[in-house]
Symmetry: C2
Subunit: 716 residues, 2 copies
């Protein structure tokens, strides 16, 4: 089995090698004119300054948590936390550093041809994608190897499990800060810059006279690239860890325990290879369809992953009977393989549904464009209607996924399905991380005054980026929905384990006599569901307010610069870009703290509050219910926000080539209908890029903290 682990580690390493090769290839591309390099330099500086500040702040929190983990659990757990946190930060950091170098090269390549622009941008995205998957897999695999092979722990030893969960916690903590901080920065810049630039001053987007324009481009990198990378790193690590933990629990004491713990790692290893192969299929075809080129890569990856799944199954658990899980279900390798395919199918369906709800040319976006004709209000009403409706099909897909995998192989089967889903994360992240690069490339083209057809190429790339960004978010939250059961099960079985051991006199005294009751008939379960359900709403509200505040401070700063430097509008004076970046950096860092702590502290507060009112048993029941409550509302809040926001954005874009309404009238850019669509886009911005995507790490962190709470209490 150790051999397999080494092979998996090799796969992770291969992802890093790919990333290095691709980085070299991107950096070798032409950087364009001096003006372009100057602009790109400003973006790079701003992004690096922001990230340095963000990581410093997180590091302070991280050191405290590291010390607490060491104190309350063990050095192994603390080390796990550090590994998760550092690797997650690293993936975002390197990815963003490539991204801020790829933007100007994409602009230059797009001047040659659309295909060349796509090539550079996608390669840059693929670097982030492979770093996310590769580093996450390497981290989990090597730490697991270290703990079992070098430190000699049994695979299912509590120390190993605590250490792996802590690794997930490290990733989650980075992720929530990065998602929120980056989200507030990017949308504060975007909304604020648009309001004062487009609306007040009447200058186009990315106009170099707008002092917020560099900040806007910085935001794309720190939010949509680094923030998203941290989010997916976390989703990947937490899912793999949770499935491994579930395997350890279900097959406790069995001989197959090692295989079932390694199986998820093997799947991820195989899928990294298929993702790397997939990237080579992303090439503009004869029809010139960018989406088509991207999808070609995705479908190749998905289909090859079925083969990869088969290989992983064959190498670990085999296709025959694996054994009986402690839940009393006989688990069969073939069924597990089918569960993996279900995970891939869920990925495909969610991609397809998200594209329907956010893509130009389908009913939902058209209905928003149409509603814009009657004004701002109806645009927003229809956008909200679409956002609410967009939750239905993904929910049904997730429900179907839960039921089918559970029927096939119990909860472990569901875990395998989510693992397979996340296995192709490298490819999905590549599709997403290419977005901010093209967005930036467009900005650079605009600011450097490149010919209009360059901007046209980058705009075409950017429009596709809107949809792929929505797709990634749908995918991340979809995996969270499907993974809900796995995380809750990990909590439940962990709790049961401690109680059994305590009642048998094997330590864990804290849990002696505890009898959790997770039935819906228990009022504390209802209370837990309601309090958990509150988190995404409250969290979303705070995040939206934060963006509003950040945007207002940008508006004031830009107005001040216009007032104090009248030469800016005339083009004779240069705006002070750095001040806007600096101001947003401070605002974003300050605003991200409180909402990030909400899901971290919520399970702890609920546990002790219910403990005081009632007893330990009810406290554990309420916390358990809270974990499901946060998912039950979180999935709807996240999908509605990300899909709705994407639809609003593309409804706005539909006016750029002229939107023909039901009465046959064509509405062009600059028309009243277009202005109304800009309002919807502004509303959708924090919806889809700040509040919505941050719900995903909020769900995970609540779950992980609850697992750690159990571990800490067990140490008392």
């Amino acid at each position: 089995m150790q051999t397999i682990l080494w092979v998996v580690a090799l796969c992770g390493l291969l992802a890093l090698v790919y990333a290095m090769w691709a980085t070299r290839s991107v950096l070798a591309a032409d950087q364009g004119s001096a003006r372009m390099q100057e602009i790109a330099g400003a973006i790079r500086e701003g992004a690096q300054a922001y990230l340095a500040r963000q990581y410093t702040t997180i590091a302070i929190v991280g050191v405290v948590v590291f010390a607490l983990t060491w104190l309350l659990l063990s050095l192994y757990a603390a080390a796990g936390f550090a590994i998760g946190a550092i690797l997650s930060g690293l993936a975002g950091f390197i990815g963003m550093n490539v991204s801020v170098r790829a933007n100007v090269r994409t602009a230059q390549a797009a001047a040659r041809s659309l295909g060349a622009g796509l090539g550079v941008a996608f390669k840059s995205g693929a670097i982030t994608g492979m770093l996310v998957a590769g580093l996450a897999l390497l981290g989990v695999t090597l730490y697991f190897l270290a703990l079992t092979a070098w430190f000699g722990f049994e695979p299912a030893d509590r120390t190993v499990i605590d250490a792996l969960v802590s690794l997930g916690f490290g990733a989650s903590l980075i992720s929530i800060f990065a998602r929120l901080g980056g989200g507030i920065f990017t949308k504060g810049a975007d909304v604020g810059g648009d309001l004062v630039g487009k609306v007040e001053a009447g200058i186009p987007e990315d106009d170099p006279r707008n002092p917020a324009t560099i900040a806007d481009n910085v935001g794309d990198n720190v939010g949509d690239c680094a923030g998203m990378a941290a989010d997916l790193f976390e989703t990947y690590a937490v899912t793999v860890v949770a499935t491994m933990v579930l395997g350890a629990i279900f097959f406790a004491g069995s001989t197959v325990i090692e295989s079932v713990m390694i199986y998820p790692l093997a799947i991820c290893g195989a899928c990294i290879i298929t993702s790397i192969i997939g990237t080579f299929f992303v090439r503009l075809g004869a029809n010139g369809s960018i989406m088509g080129a991207l999808y070609k890569g995705l479908w190749v990856t998905t289909l090859l992953s079925i083969v990869g799944l088969a290989a992983a199954t064959w190498a670990t658990v085999g296709f025959g009977d694996v054994g009986q899980s402690s839940a009393g279900i006989t688990i069969n390798g073939l069924n597990l393989f089918i569960c993996g395919i279900v995970g891939l199918a869920v990925t495909g369906l969610i991609v397809w549904i998200t594209e329907y709800y956010t893509g130009i040319g389908f009913r939902p976006v058209r209905s928003i464009s149409e509603a814009s004709v009657s004004g701002h209000g109806t645009n927003v009403i229809q956008g909200l209607a679409v956002s609410l409706e967009a939750t239905a099909l993904p929910t049904i897909v997730i429900v179907a996924g839960i039921i089918s995998t559970y029927q096939l192989a119990g909860l472990y089967g569901t875990g395998i399905a989510v693992t397979a889903m996340l296995g192709v994360a490298g490819m999905i992240v590549a599709l997403d991380a290419f977005g901010p690069v093209t967005d930036n490339a467009g900005g650079i083209a605009e600011m450097a005054g490149l010919p209009a057809d360059v901007r046209r190429s980058t705009d075409a790339l950017d429009a596709v980026g809107n949809t792929t960004k929505a797709v990634t978010k749908g995918y991340a939250i979809g995996s969270a929905g499907l993974g809900a059961l796995v995380l809750f099960a990990a909590y439940n079985y962990d709790l049961q384990f401690f109680i059994q051991q305590a009642d048998a006199g094997n330590g864990f005294e804290y849990f002696r006599g505890v009898q959790p009751d997770f039935a819906l008939t228990n009022p504390y379960v209802v209370v837990g569901l309601l309090l958990g359900g509150l988190i995404p709403f409250l969290f979303g509200g705070i995040a939206m307010t934060a963006v509003g505040r950040a945007a207002s401070s940008v508006v004031e700063e830009v107005r001040r610069q216009f007032r104090e430097k009248p030469g800016i509008m005339a083009g004779t004076e240069r705006p002070d870009y750095a001040r806007a970046v600096d101001l947003l950096t401070k605002a974003a860092i300050k605003e991200m703290i409180v909402p990030s702590l909400l899901p971290v502290l919520a399970p702890i507060v609920v546990y002790f509050a219910v403990y005081l009112i009632s007893d330990k048993s009810q406290a554990f029941s309420a916390v358990g219910a809270m974990l499901l409550g946060v998912i039950v509302t979180g999935i709807f809040v996240a999908i509605s926000m990300t899909s709705g926001g994407g639809a609003w954005d593309n409804a706005k874009k539909s006016f750029e080539d002229g939107f023909v309404d039901a009465a046959g009238v064509r509405h062009m850019k600059g028309s009243d209908a277009h202005k109304a669509s800009v309002t919807g886009d502004t509303v959708g911005d924090p919806y889809k890029d700040t509040a919505g995507p941050a719900v995903n790490p909020a769900i995970k962190i609540t779950n992980i903290v609850a697992l750690l709470l159990l571990a800490v209490l067990a140490h008392q």
Copy 2:
């Protein structure tokens, strides 16, 4: 015990007597000029035409359901269904007929003084309030009396329980149609009329040249008066019935069963008396505060209700030990009394929180006004942020209510708390139903060209109406949240009862061997939670789309009239008001069908789908979880929509007297900031008056249908 039932019936009757007295008093008031009467006549005609059509449509559905209920259950159940449906319809019908007569009299009285205007408007609201409470209480009490005293059934006989649940179902079915149909009508008229009138033609609200203006006033009556009355009737009836059913289940076979079943009725009877007394305290004080006058009535009612609660407790269960419930908790009369007080406290707290989130002068509304200064987009962003945040405190209050009542007296205690909450519904509805009357009065004053100070008085009354409307919605959904457990418990214990009887060989063969598992560890429970959680989102999305569509058709119609009758704008030609009313009537009736059926059919579809995939036990588990799922998301969706919408509305109103922003600049009506606030108000309209409030009946109807499903399966 029969004596008590007769006394309760007498209390219900007293409410009707009060309504008759108040109606006579309202009708005796001066009707104003011929022009005013003409306008009021048009509104009355439109409202009556709409309601006639709506009731005809519902009647068709009702006859089918009546037949089905008879066929699948019994004539008693079918009769219960008819009683619930007819009385609910009657409360809305009479209330609205008074309301469309009170509007013009309020306008005329407001010409005399603010106090006189308030007097007429509030009295009209109180009529609807007393009709809702009186008819609901009379219906339940007399039918219960008839079944037990005349037809000789035991109070806890299945026939009695099925008949009472069917009564609740009848009320629910009317309620969801009335809320949705009325909501689509009123907001279609409001949004459509504003868009084409205020925005395109540049004429003020309620301008007689706008062909949609009569429809807008009709909408206030059919949506905010008749629709709301049906909703509260349903909430009242369902809560009382559910608490009675819970009493019957908990004390099955005990001698106290009759007292615990009558206790909720006695509470409601006592609270009707205190509500009637309270109405006499609503009088404008020396400070001229309208809200103060209304609150005086509410606080008097609430405080007196504590006395009423004590009397009801003394007369039925007494203050000593009541006995041991089947759940194994010893229930004590004093504790039940305290539970009732908790219910009143929850009402007070929710009123207070809702006022904070929707009232002018507090942080939330100020923040939206402030955000309007930067534009349409930021107004909507901040409004959404407020709407999300507004869910937090009510949830915590509800959670505290659940925990404290459960600790005091188990689930039956929670039921008593909700009953006490609903007991004061007469007063709460009075506060709400006065809103549309003043809104209409303002419209009539505008159209009839009354002096500006009359409009100022009616505007002052209307602003308060915005908050009281939000308060009622918060109250209704809050009671649903607290009642969640009661409804789920009724389902669970009903199911247990059937299973026990079946396993003991006492019939109900369908349930033999069924073993539902409501633990969160059961994937079908998670699936049920997710599918239930989807309902409010999907339902909300469909309702918002429907309003958008109805509004668009109004826009087209008004544009057509302006085009074909150029004399309208010059004031030489009269617009065709009736056509707009007729068009909206058709649109609203058509659009209300599909979303209304969603919560009705959902539990049935889920039951049979899961049955096919798995088995009966899991099907019952999934449906049970669905009942909680719909509440867990529904409560957040409903509170966020109703509070957010109210806040947007009042943020707009804050510009009417000039809003001073953080920089000290005053923004008046007509400023850009005011225009941005109008966008938010437009978005908030369907949020707060269509989708949000309709979530409450959607929650209830899902629960009631599940209870009926059990009853029907038991009859197989």
